[in-house]
Amino acid sequence: MRALSLAVLILLPLCSGCSGRQSALDAAGSEAARIESLFWTFTITVSAVWILVMTGLALAMRRRHEAAEPLPEPLAPDRRVEHRATITINALVIATGVILLALMVASFLAGRSGPSLAREHSLELELTGRQWWWDIRYADKDPARVVTTANEIHLPVGRAVELKLASSDVIHSFWVPNIAGKLDLVPGRQNVLFIKPERVGTYRGQCAEFCGLQHAHMALLVVVEPEQQFEAWYAAELGSAAEPGTPEAKRGKELFSKAACVMCHQIRGSTAGARLGPDLTHVGRRATIAAGTLPMTAVDLDSWIADPQAVKPGVSMPKVDLSPEDRRSIVAYLGSLK
Amino acid sequence: MTDRPMLDLSDLPTSGFGPRSPTWWGTLSFCALEGMGFALAAGAYLYLASVNQTWPLGAAPPTLWPGIVITVLMLLSLVPNHWVKQAALKQDLVAVRILLVIMSIFGAFILVIRGFEFGALNISWDSNAYGSIVWFILGLHTTHLATDLGDTLVLTALMFTRHGRELRRFSDVEDNAFYWYFVVFSWLPLYLLLDWVP
C-alpha cells in the first residue's frame, strides 16, 4: 500500500500538465478525441487490474516472516488449500480473458471511423518527408490552385482532410497528437491518413520515426482556423511572392538570386525555382524557421543564414559566405515575403 | 548426508545411434535453425513477389538444366547416403569407407554444377530485388552444401585412420548422413521456388 500511495503522489503533480500544444490528452481533432476516450477506458481498466493484483500480493504476504534464521521447514501442500487456490486462479484467468475481450472490442470499435472521413473529405494534402523538414502540397485538380509550402499546415476547422504521406529519403512519421495518431512516411509507398480538426488553435507536431541526425528538429505546426480565415490564407499562399518594398529588401532579392540560395530554394515570382529546400515564397508568414528549430524573427533568421550548421548540426543547407550587411538585406527580403 | 548407491550403470554402452545420442539432437537442432533460415529466405522471396506488380521484375526466367541436373544428382545421392547410414549402424568399416568416398564425389560434383546454376539464374544479384533474393537463396544453400562436403571429406579421412575403428565414429557417420538428408530435402522446395515460380 505504501507503494501505491507513492505512485499516486508521483502521478498527481505530473498530470496537471496534460493539456498542451503537443498532447495526446487534449484532443482537438476527431481522431485524437476517439483515441483519448479509448485511452481513458484502457487506463482505468488496467489501473484497476493493477491495484487488484497488488492487493492480492499484499494479502499473500501478510503471513510473512521477517528474516527468519534458519529458514523454516518447507510446507507440504494441503489438498484442500490447493484445491481452493486452483479454483481461485481459474476464476482469475477467466476474468482476465473477459477483460481482455472487452478491451479488444473497445479497441476494434474505436479503430473504425476512418472510412466515414474518407467519404466526407474535401481537402487533399500531399506531405513529403525530407531530412529534416516537411514538404507540403495542397493538391487540386486545377493546377493553378495548388499550393506549395513547408513546415506549416493551415486547415479549416471541422472539415475532413486526406493526407497523402510519402518520403523522398528515409522513413519519417507524421504526428500531431492533438489532431490524430501518427502514420509513417515510407519511401516507395504511400500511406493515407484522414483527419478532422475540430477546435481552432495552433498545434505542434513532430516527426516520430527516427530519421537521422536532426530527427529532434523536424517539427511542424498545424494551424486550425475558421473557414474564412483559411480561405484567405489559401488565397494569399496561391499568389506569387510579394515584390520587395524597401531598398534594403530589394537588395536582398538580388543577393538571393546571385548567391547559392537559388540552387536550392524556390520563390515563385522570382528567378529562384529550385526544389531541394523548402519553398520560400511566403516564408515570412510562417511562425518558425527550419521545421520548428527557431522562431521566425529577424534575429533568428539572421543566425540561421549565418550558420545553419551551428543551429541544426548536420542540416542539408550549407553555410553560405555572406557579409553581415548582405545577410541583413536577405533577411529583410525574406521577412517581407508575407 | 550420505550417498546411497541404488543403480549400477557400469553395463551401459558408451555410445549410441540416432535419438539416443546427444550429437544427433545437436545436429537436429542445427537443422531446425538452418531450416528456419531457409524458410525465412523463402518467405522474403514470396513477400517481395507480392509487393511488386510484376515478377520477376522483367528478368528472364532461369535456365533449367543445371537445376534439373543438381536435383537429380541429389536425389540419386540419397541411395548411397542410405547405404552409408546402414553400414554405420552395422559398424562395417570397409563399406563405410567406400561409401563415404562415393558421397564425397557426389558432393564435389554437385558443388561444381552449382557454379553453373548461379550463371543459369540469368540475372545479377545487383540488378534488382529479384536478382538479389535468388542469389541469396542459392548462396545460402550453397554454403550448406560446401560445409557438408567439407565435413564429409574430413570424416572420410578420419575413417581411414585408426580413429575409424571407434564406435563413436560410426555414430558420427550416421549424423553426417542425417545432415545430408537435410541438405537434400531443404533443397527441393527452394528448387521449386527458384526455377518454377518465375
Binding site: L14, A60, L92, P177, A216 | P22, W135
Partner: protein, 636 residues
C-alpha cells in the same frame, strides 16, 4: 590400495579418493593456456556472467550520459551525432550484450547443475560461444570509442541504415555485431536443449524438471526459431551495403518494410527470450522463500510453452504505424492481448504460492516483490500499446520507452538481481550482505519508478523517443529533470551491488551447501561446486528432490568411470539411464576457431572476399577442434 586406470569405476571407491580422482579428471589446467582452454561450464558461465554485468554497467553509463543531456531543454552537452550513437549502443548493448547473454550465462552455469550432470552438452561449443560473444561485445564498444559506433537505433531501420543514408561503417558495425552475438546465442541454445533433453539425472522425468530449467528450455527453442530471422536480415543489409544487392531499395523492387517484418519476426520473440528465463528465476525464488513447492507447476510449464509459441505471432504490433492494413493489424492486437493470459496464469500461480506458503522476507524475495509491482504495470501498458488506435498515439514516444523499461528492468533485471543474491553463495561460497541488499533494493525500486514512471506522461504529452534535445515550454522540462535525477539514484543502486559483491567476496559469511534450504539439485553439492559438479550422480524421485526425499541420505548411481570424463545420458521423457558418454577434454581450439571466425566477420565489413579468405583458417581450426587426439575418451 588399487591403482586408478582408465576403466576404474566409482563403485566402492571411498569418498575422499573419489573426490580426488574426479577433481583431477575434470580439472581446468593451471596457467593462461589452461584457463583459455577450459571447457568447464561453470568457468565459462562465470566468465559469461562477469562479461554481461560489465556490459550492463557500460550500457548503464551510456544511459546516464543520455539522461544528463536530456535533463534540460535545448541542452548542448551532447550533440546529435554522439547522442544517436549513445542510444543505439545503449539499446543494442542492453539487448544483445547484456540481457540475452546474462540469461544464457545463468543457464550455462546452472542448468547442468540443476539437472544433475557433470558438464553442459558440447562444452567446447560453449567455450567457442563465449569467445565469439566477447569479441562481438568488444567490437561494438571499440567501434563506439573510435567514433564509428552505430547510430541507427537498435532496430536499424532501412533506408536510414542502408547504402544511401547509413554513415560510413556505422551500420555495418551494428549488422556484424548482430552476427557475433547470434552465433553465440544459438550455440548456447543448442547446448541447453541437448543438456536438458539428454543429460538429466536418472529419474528426472519431464514433469520433474525445475521451472528455471523449463524456462531456459523454452527460451532456447525460441532462440533457435527466432534468431535466424535477424541473421538473414542483417546479412541482407550488409549485402545491400557492400555488394549492391537491392533487397530494401524500392526503386529496384525492394521494400523498406521487408526489413521491419524480418527484424521484428526476431525482435518480438527476443523480448520473451529476455523475459522467460526471468520468469523461471521468479518461480525458483518464490518456491524457496514461500517454503513450499510451486502451486500450479503444470500450469506454469504450459504457460511458458504457450508464451513461446505466441511470441511468434505478435511481431506486427511494432509496425502498426507503418501503414499496415487495419484488419490485419487487429489480428495482431488480439494475439498480443492473448499473451497476457499465460502471463497472468504465471502471476496468479506465484501469488497463489506465496499466499498458501509462509513467505520469508529475504533480499531475493524482495526483488521478486519489486518485480511484481513493476512488471505487472509494464505488462498492462503492453496491453495498452497493443491496441491499434492507442498505438497510433503512443508508438515511438516515451510511453513506449516507459513500457519496455518496465518490462525489461522490472520483468527481467529485478528477478535477475534477486537471482544474483540467491545464487551468489553457490557460485562463490559466500553470502552477499543482506543489509546492503536492502539498501540496494530500495534505491533501485524508488530510482526505477522515479525514472521511468513519468516517461508515460512524457509520451502522452507528445515527447517522441530518440530525440537528442527538445525545446522548452512543452511541459516536458520539469519531468525530464526529475527523470534524470531518479535515473542517477538507480545508477547509484547498481553501484551498491558492485560494492556488495566486492565486499562479500572478501568477507561475506560462509554459505555452506544449501544456505536457503532450497529444493533443487544445484544445492546438493558444495559451494562453489567442484569441477565435476557431483561426486555421484543423484537419482531423482520428485520435483523438489532436496525437500521431499529422505533428508539424511541421497540415492545415487554408480558404475561410472572416474579417470575419464563421463556423463550419464538418459532418455528424453523418462530420464532412464541409457549411455555413459565421454565428455570432451579442455582444448584451445575453440578459442582459435573463435579468433578465425571473429576476424572473418570483422574483415567482411570491408570486403566480401574476407569470407573466402577467412574460410581457410576457420576450416583449419574446426578440424583441429574436432579431430580426436587420444583414444578412447577424447571426443569433440
Amino acid at each position: 590400495m588399487m591403482s586408478i586406470t582408465a576403466d576404474t569405476r566409482d563403485t566402492g571407491l571411498d569418498d575422499a579418493r573419489l573426490h580426488r580422482v574426479l577433481a583431477w579428471t575434470w580439472r581446468t589446467e593451471r596457467g593462461l593456456i589452461g584457463a583459455l582452454s577450459s571447457v568447464d561450464h561453470k568457468v565459462i558461465g562465470r566468465r559469461y556472467m562477469i562479461t554481461a554485468l560489465m556490459f550492463l554497467f557500460l550500457g548503464g553509463l551510456a544511459a546516464v550520459a543520455m539522461r544528463l543531456q536530456l535533463a534540460r531543454p535545448d541542452s548542448r552537452l551532447i550533440g546529435p551525432d554522439l547522442y544517436n550513437q549513445l542510444f543505439t549502443v545503449h539499446g543494442t548493448n542492453m539487448m544483445f550484450l547484456f540481457a540475452v547473454p546474462v540469461m544464457e550465462a545463468f543457464g550455462a552455469y546452472f542448468v547442468p547443475l540443476m539437472v544433475g550432470t557433470r558438464n553442459i552438452a558440447f562444452p567446447r561449443l560453449n567455450a567457442f560461444s563465449y569467445w565469439i560473444y566477447l569479441s562481438g561485445g568488444l567490437f561494438l564498444w571499440v567501434s563506439f570509442a573510435l567514433n564509428i559506433g552505430p547510430d541507427v537505433g537498435w532496430f536499424a531501420y532501412v533506408p536510414l541504415s542502408g547504402p544511401e543514408f547509413g554513415i560510413g561503417k556505422r551500420p555495418d558495425v551494428w549488422a556484424q555485431m548482430i552476427t557475433y552475438t547470434e552465433v553465440s546465442a544459438l550455440a548456447v541454445a543448442v547446448e541447453i536443449v541437448v543438456t536438458v533433453f539428454k543429460q538429466r539425472a536418472p529419474g528426472m522425468t519431464l514433469s520433474r524438471i525445475p521451472l528455471f530449467v523449463w524456462a531456459m528450455l523454452v527460451t532456447s527453442f525460441v532462440i533457435i526459431f527466432a534468431m535466424p530471422a535477424v541473421m538473414v536480415a542483417s546479412t541482407m543489409l550488409i549485402l545491400d551495403r557492400l555488394v549492391g544487392t537491392q533487397f530494401f531499395n524500392p526503386a529496384e523492387g525492394g521494400d523498406a518494410l521487408l526489413w521491419q517484418h524480418m527484424f521484428w519476426f526476431f525482435g518480438h520473440p527476443e523480448v520473451y527470450i529476455i523475459f522467460l528465463p526471468a520468469t523461471g528465476m521468479v518461480s525458483m525464488i518464490v518456491e524457496t522463500f514461500a517454503r513450499r513447492p510451486m502451486h500450479g507447476y503444470i500450469a506454469v510449464v504450459l504457460s511458458l510453452i504457450a508464451i513461446g509459441f505466441l511470441a511468434f505471432g505478435l511481431w506486427v504490433h511494432h509496425m502498426f504505424a507503418a501503414g499496415i492494413p487495419e484488419l490485419g493489424a487487429s489480428f495482431f492486437t488480439a494475439a498480443s492481448m492473448l499473451i497476457a493470459v499465460p502471463s497472468g496464469v504465471q502471476v496468479f500461480c506465484w501469488i497463489g504460492t506465496l499466499w498458501t506458503g509462509r513467505p520469508v522476507m529475504r533480499v531475493p524475495l524482495l526483488f521478486v516483490l519489486g518485480f511484481f509491482f513493476i512488471f505487472v504495470a509494464g505488462g498492462l501498458t503492453g496491453v495498452m500499446v497493443s491496441s491499434v488506435p492507442l498505438d497510433y498515439q503512443l508508438h515511438d514516444t516515451y510511453f513506449v520507452v516507459a513500457h519496455f523499461h518496465y518490462v525489461l528492468i522490472g520483468g527481467s533485471v529485478f528477478p535477475l538481481i534477486g537471482t544474483i543474491y540467491y545464487w551468489f553463495p553457490k557460485i562463490t561460497g559466500r553470502m552477499l550482505s543482506e543489509r546492503l541488499g536492502q539498501w540496494h533494493f530500495w534505491l533501485a525500486f524508488l530510482g526505477f519508478n522515479g525514472a521511468f514512471f513519468p516517461m508515460h506522461v512524457l509520451g502522452l504529452l507528445g515527447m517522441p523517443r530518440r530525440v537528442y534535445t527538445y525545446p522548452a515550454g512543452l511541459g516536458w522540462d520539469g519531468i525530464n529533470l526529475f527523470v534524470s535525477l531518479s535515473a542517477t539514484v538507480l545508477a547509484v543502486s547498481f553501484l551498491l551491488l558492485a560494492v556488495n559483491i566486492v565486499l562479500s567476496l572478501r568477507r561475506g559469511a560462509s554459505a555452506g551447501d544449501n544456505p536457503w534450504d532450497a529444493p533443487t539439485l544445484e544445492w546438493a553439492t558444495s559451494s562453489p561446486p567442484p569441477p565435476y559438479n557431483f561426486a555421484r550422480i543423484p537419482v531423482v524421485r520428485s520435483r523438489d528432490p532436496l525437500w521431499s526425499e529422505a533428508r539424511l541420505s541421497r540415492e545415487v548411481v554408480q558404475g561410472l568411470r572416474v579417470a575419464v570424463r563421463e556423463v550419464v545420458i538418459t532418455t528424453l521423457n523418462e530420464a532412464r539411464p541409457d549411455l555413459r558418454e565421454p565428455s570432451p577434454q579442455p582444448s584451445i581450439w575453440p578459442l582459435l576457431a573463435a579468433i578465425a571466425v571473429g576476424a572473418t566477420f570483422l574483415a567482411s565489413i570491408f570486403t566480401p572476399w574476407a569470407i573466402v579468405w577467412g574460410s581457410l583458417p576457420v576450416a583449419i581450426t574446426l578440424i583441429g577442434w574436432f579431430w580426436p587426439k587420444r583414444v578412447p575418451e577424447d571426443e569433440g
